[in-house]
């Protein structure tokens, strides 16, 4: 028989630890300045053991952050060094290769001390509105053009904030109040986690997290291995062609399921791009692991032991771009990694894996200013928008829903308060879901105009304009996206472009691919599509 007291005690402590990281994430949501964090939830938070192994993460959060942060903590431990860690410290970086893939994400790690014993670390990440340089976009030729770089360093030592860093930061970013405010929010979020953990350990009479960590990892590992052993063994390939900056980019993956591990190799993908669409391997790995976990072990908690089962490899290429490659919009290609990996996995698990979808968020960053000869306001505005998700093996795809990213859109009323623009339209795009037994999710259409007397430049970071989402098992492709002005001018899917006063930018977001033979779609489903106007064109 199991030792009942120990068993129940550890189960209860595990629940408590998850609650601690939820409180940590909640603090970040409530104190953050950037709309990307506070309205869209582009953040993550987690607790780690003294070796830097992730014990638990908050459910609030996006995979690109969570799974990269899980690796980032190890870099902090190495570079700061145990001897330089003190109670009240907070460490920071935005290093794309040691953090979460681009300079806009700030990662903070705080050691958690009980007395003078180091018992663990809290980490959190959030996307800030500006880091200087060329701004959020794909036009940098190297990371040096993409903004201020903060190597791993102390944001606070023994509770005292690093004023030199704050002054440097203020001088280098376009929205210093918001960015500095977010730095404080990130630090506060780790502080709350630490306080809650200390209270928990004192209350339970715990001196270290070692035994609890062992319990969590053992349980998670054994559940994960059970799932892996139920999978077919072998190797499967997939290729995904995508828009690139101005020339197509090929992504290649080989998934190998062997024994207790799943490996993904990205050999065969296009070389490093001269534009800022490259992906550091840490981010590639985050999304590859996420995709595998969604299919293989969706209900198993995300921690060091569940992530350990997934390994990746890649020669130097666009999915493993070394410093100083430009990486600002690494999310566009990064968000396509799940479709790439799932395409290979679908060959191993036929009939069980969803179709391709819009995948990459249609983020738009706008730099608004008064039109020549007018007075008015300046503002940096960021919006997150989603196209359609691929159809599932048993259900239609979700319309205008983020996948694989976990972020939310911002209310347009909140966005219009942040700067002088008008969003005239944000609604579903009929006829954009790929036909099939199950229809792909619909994309959406967005129209944005500068307020009278203003103009804006915007950074396009869109995909699936020339390469729509493919259907699966006979399902049709989703509709491709498009970027236009209201006078009919076609714009590029990537790079900074201009919208003058009085013009409207029209973003037409891609739909998801269908699943299964369209002939098998039920008459009831077709009637509902017609009644709701999801499909307006008769099928031939």
């Amino acid at each position: 028989m199991t030792d009942p007291t120990r068993e129940i005690r550890f189960q209860v402590m595990w629940n408590r630890l998850i609650s601690v990281v939820e409180e940590q994430a909640m603090t970040l949501l409530r104190t953050a300045f950037s709309t990307s964090v506070r309205e869209a939830g582009d953040l993550s938070a987690g607790v780690f053991d003294p070796q830097g192994r992730m014990l638990a993460q908050a459910v609030t959060g996006t995979p690109g952050h969570v799974n990269t942060m899980a690796e980032a903590v190890l870099h902090f431990i190495t570079e700061i060094g145990r001897a330089n860690m003190f109670p009240g410290d907070t460490y920071v970086t935005n290093d794309p290769w040691k953090g979460t893939g681009h300079l806009h994400d700030i990662t903070m790690v705080s050691p958690s001390f009980l007395g003078d014993r180091l018992v663990g670390f809290f980490a959190c990440t959030a996307h800030v509105v500006d880091v200087g340089g060329r701004g959020f976009g794909a036009d940098g030729k190297s990371v040096y053009e993409e903004g201020i770089q903060i190597p791993i360093m102390k944001f606070a030592e023994r509770g005292a904030v690093n004023d030199t860093l704050i002054r440097l930061l203020r001088a280098n970013v376009r929205e210093p109040d918001q960015v500095v405010g977010d730095f404080y929010s990130l630090a506060a979020c780790n502080d709350v986690g630490h306080r809650r953990l200390a209270a928990m350990m004192q209350e339970i009479g715990l001196a270290t997290l070692d035994d609890l960590g062992e319990f969590i990892f053992t349980r998670t590992r054994s559940a994960t291995l059970d799932r892996l052993r139920a999978l077919p063994q072998g190797t499967w390939d997939n290729i995904l062609d995508t828009d690139g900056y101005d020339t197509p980019v090929r992504l290649a993956a080989r998934v190998t399921i062997a024994g207790d591990a799943v490996n993904v190799d990205f050999a065969g993908s296009s070389p490093v791009s001269p534009k800022g669409i490259n992906v550091p391997i840490i981010y590639t790995k985050a999304y590859a692991s996420y995709a595998l976990k969604c299919v293989i072990a969706p209900d198993i908690p995300n921690n060091w032991a569940s992530l350990e089962a997934f390994t990746i490899a890649s020669p130097e290429n666009i999915l493993n771009a070394p410093r100083p490659a430009p990486v600002s919009v690494r999310h566009v290609i990064g968000h396509l990694v799940p479709d790439l990996v799932l395409g290979a996995l679908a060959k191993a698990l036929p009939g069980q894996v969803l179709a391709e979808g819009a995948a990459a968020l249609w983020n738009i960053h706008m730099s608004v200013r008064p039109a020549p000869g007018h007075s008015g306001r300046r503002a940096e505005i960021l919006m997150f928008n989603s196209g359609g998700m691929g159809a599932r093996p048993t259900a239609d795809g979700l319309s205008a829903t983020a996948f694989p990213s976990g972020v939310m859109t911002m209310p347009i009323e909140a966005t219009e308060h942040t700067g002088p623009i008008v969003i005239w339209r944000k609604e579903l795009r009929p006829d954009s879901g790929g036909d099939g037994e199950f229809r792909g999710g619909l994309g959406q259409i967005i129209e944005i105009e500068p307020l009278p007397g203003h103009e804006f430049d915007f950074s396009a970071m869109f995909d699936r304009v020339n390469h729509p989402a493919r259907g699966r098992d006979g399902g049709q492709p989703g509709a491709a996206g498009s970027v236009d002005l209201d006078d009919g001018t076609k714009l590029k899917p990537k790079g900074w472009q201009h919208v003058s006063a009085g013009r409207r930018l029209i973003l037409t977001l891609p739909g998801g691919g269908g699943f299964g033979d369209p002939a098998r779609r039920s008459p009831e489903a077709r009637a509902e599509d017609a009644a709701k106007g999801y499909v307006t064109k008769a099928k031939s």
Binding site: T2, P4, E7, I8, V12, W14, N15, R16, S19, E22, E23, M26, L29, T31, A32, F33, T35, R38, V59, G61, P63, D177, V180, G181, A188, R196, E203, R219, T220, A223, K293, V295, D299, P301, L354, F384, N385, R392, A395, L398, S399, A400, A402, G406, M408, T409, I412, E413, E416, H417, V422, W424, K426, E427, L428, Q444, E447, L451, K532, G533
Partner: protein, 694 residues
Amino acid sequence: MTIRLGADIGGTFTDVALDHDGTIHSTKILTNYAAPEQAILDAIHIVLTEAGLTYADLDIVIHGTTLATNALIERRGAKTAFVTTEGFRDTVEMRTENRFDQYDLNLRLPQPLVPRQDRFTVPGRIGADGQELLPLDESALAAVADAIAAGGYGAVAIGFIHSYLNPAHEARARQIIAARTSAPISISSEVSPQMREFERFNTVCANAYVRPQMAAYLTRLQARLKDMGATCPVFMIHSGGGLISVETAAEFPVRLIESGPAGGAIFAADIARRFALSHVVSYDMGGTTAKICLIEDFAPKTARSFEVARTTRFAKGSGMPISIPVIEMIEIGAGGGSLASVDSMGRIQTGPESAGSEPGPACYQRGGDRPAITDADLILGKIDPENFAGGAIRLSAPLAASAIDAHVGQPLRLDTRSAAFGIAEVVDENMANAARVHAVENGKNISDNLMIAFGGAAPLHAARLCEKLGIDRCLVPPGAGVGSAIGFLRAPFGYEALVTRITRLSAFDTDAVNALLASLKTTAEGFVRTGTTAAITVEATAFMRYKGQGWEIPVPLPDHPFTAPDIATLRAAFRAAYARFFGRAIGGTSDDALEIEVVTWSVKASDTRPAPARHHLTTGSTTLTPSTLRDVFDPATGTNLPTTIVARDSLTPGQRIPGPAVIVERETSTVVTSPFDVVMQTDGSLLLIRKSAP
């Protein structure tokens, strides 16, 4: 000297409480889904007979109901048309463009209340400063109105972008549509004048959707009461915990959502006032959920929005947002009927799935074979199987044991009692975590509070919950089983009017703010005046943040018109409140580092109540009591302990029983774990007090 009657229609039970000059008569009967008012009349008949009164003797009837909530959950509302700004037809369907579960690729999102074919758009646009960017296209609107008139709609909702700043287009649209249809029309600037279009649009749709049904029900109820000879007025309890007239409720039925739980919070607040307890956490645990609410200075915390009708395991984001003033509480799927299971990691999980009343927990002997919390409580000795619900339901310990063994014990290789302990510990820990998070979200420390526990299952779990939360004292009041209905009797006539109007402190126009607050005050007082002639108390609050943030914290406002020096006071009050929530204000001690702004202004009006009878907590002294001993599992020591079993009605005020003990009564049992003693109070409440506490 008044005779007041409170009636609470819940999902399972309809509770009625009658206050006859301070004596409470109460009853609990099954809710009648086909004719909800019939259950009320049946229950009223029981308490009137018991009190020797007739309908004509009633001075006031106060009613709360989950009918509006149920109509939303079960999608049984009217066929509703939604009219919105051109370009935003799908706002209520696109929601937040997010999946509430990151890893479940088969997830289903809740469908909008109003399907796409019933959503209409018209050109016309208000900007973010409240200015008109595009005039309302009245001929397009007339065409939409014709379509609505021809479409057989039972209700209409109107929601335009930025209408919380400028309601002119919505008001005009209502006029045009009203000229062509008799269906009731709800507009978002009246129902929910708050920023964030998805939340506001969904709220106005929900209001319209339940309105015909609720109006009909309220009319029927009033007619039936009148037929029975009642001449008194009927008032409704709203989600914010105050009373509103039936007419207001029929127009804004969305305000009735969550009125039952609000009654429970008021019940606890009233007890807090009687005992002069300024820091209280109320804990209400029934058959399917547990509700936890902070009560500061005798008033429950309120919030400006909440989520109802969650579709998936109570997951945040799987329901629909309603942005109206509401008593802020956290509700989790933890009740006596919550089912326990073991997941693939070997972790015990409890709820939110519930055994309900049919088949009920395994021990009810009605065919349930999965273990519920009640089964675990029975195995641990917390419940006497011969005496459950006054002996009305005979409980079977062997059936409870076999359900626990099959679903928890065997998978984890635990004996029955350990498995039962595991189930109880997990559900208690889940409730403790919810309570801690709720306190943190409000910038409070949970252990600083006294707990008030009520609802059928709460007294069984309260002591262990207090152990986990570091709480030293817990009151279990009499009448805890019908707490919400009693709470209704204590509710003030109150109304909170609020509006989003972003106001930066650096550009603070005192005249404009004073005018805004005056108009909110007129609105709030107007609602309160429909129910009372007593003096009215007014509290104004600003919801403030650093410019650029998205979440606001409440800051109380002075009760005089603003003058220039008040701005500095407001800044200081905000910074102090911020530091209390989040550790430190931004920019260290420097006062002008960041712009601060008010986002939402609120004015709450309520009638002043005569102070209730005061009681003092007594810690009593231990006396010998005739009692029996039974083995009950004690979680703190992890063993069975011989435990004193005493009938609640045999205790006299001041009497103190050392734990471990179980105080039994007709509806429930109060479990006193080994770290606690229990003391009978002068008002019939039980006080659990930690042995080490002063």
